[in-house]
């Protein structure tokens, strides 16, 4: 059930889709993973860590 719902989200039947730009040739699946890694990296730098006192308080 949940599987078929998820499967409906992205159709994996058939050939993959590719992003072309000059010599760069990468599947949208891989490109999405790279974008998610960049987003997670930036979030890890800026999202406040629970329980951490802010700099002003520690002064």
């Amino acid at each position: 059930m949940a599987g078929s719902l998820l499967a409906a989200l992205v159709s994996l039947d058939g050939a993959g889709h590719y992003f072309h730009w000059h010599w760069i040739d990468i599947s949208y699946a891989n490109l999405t993973v790279i974008a998610l890694m960049v987003v997670t990296f930036v979030a890890a730098l800026f999202v406040p860590f629970p329980g951490r006192r802010s700099k002003k308080e520690t002064k």
């Binding site: 993973v33 890694m37 990296f41 979030a43 890890a44 860590f49 329980g51 951490r52």
Partner: protein, 207 residues
Amino acid sequence: MSSTEIDRQWTTRLRRRAARRLPPEKMLPDTQPAYVASWIYVFGVTTLSALAVVILSGFILALKGPQWWHVSGIGHFVNSLHLWSVEIFFFAMVIHLWGKFFMAAWRGGRSLTWVTGVVTFLTSIATAFTGYVSQTNFDSQWISTQAKDGINSTGAGSFFNVLNFGQMLMWHIVLLPLVAVILTGLHVLMVRAKGVVPPFEEKVEAR
């Protein structure tokens, strides 16, 4: 035995050295410096946890075999668990690597920590590759026949033949995971010995 003789024994020397470099309170510390309270420090342990799931799910796949993971419901589930924990492993490892790169975490005598990280990364790629060609399905056939010419052209084909299923499986479930786990162990021990790298010094304004 005289005490100088005892001092010269390799067991004595090794024990003293280990106790000096990694006393229990460094090995399993109670607290961490304040700067570690940031999400960017979470990705090393995320990688480690994902690796644990990869190994455990791999053990179950090895116990039950391909006929099980290709056809049964639970087999599919454990197979997926193995694949997706690998995805999380690489995802977290890359963010960990970026984080350590931008904080130049090889500072203060931590160069071997960085180097073991790099070698673990490369070993993990090889482990994932041999896993893809060990699936026993059309995907693994396709990947091995696509990869063979490139790999053979490097000369590595003389001892690493991607069309040799038995050999690829052995690399995947014995040799490469062993190396990856040992390197990971050394990596974490080195982090414990040195402590987490301090951030770059802030420029403090005179006031």
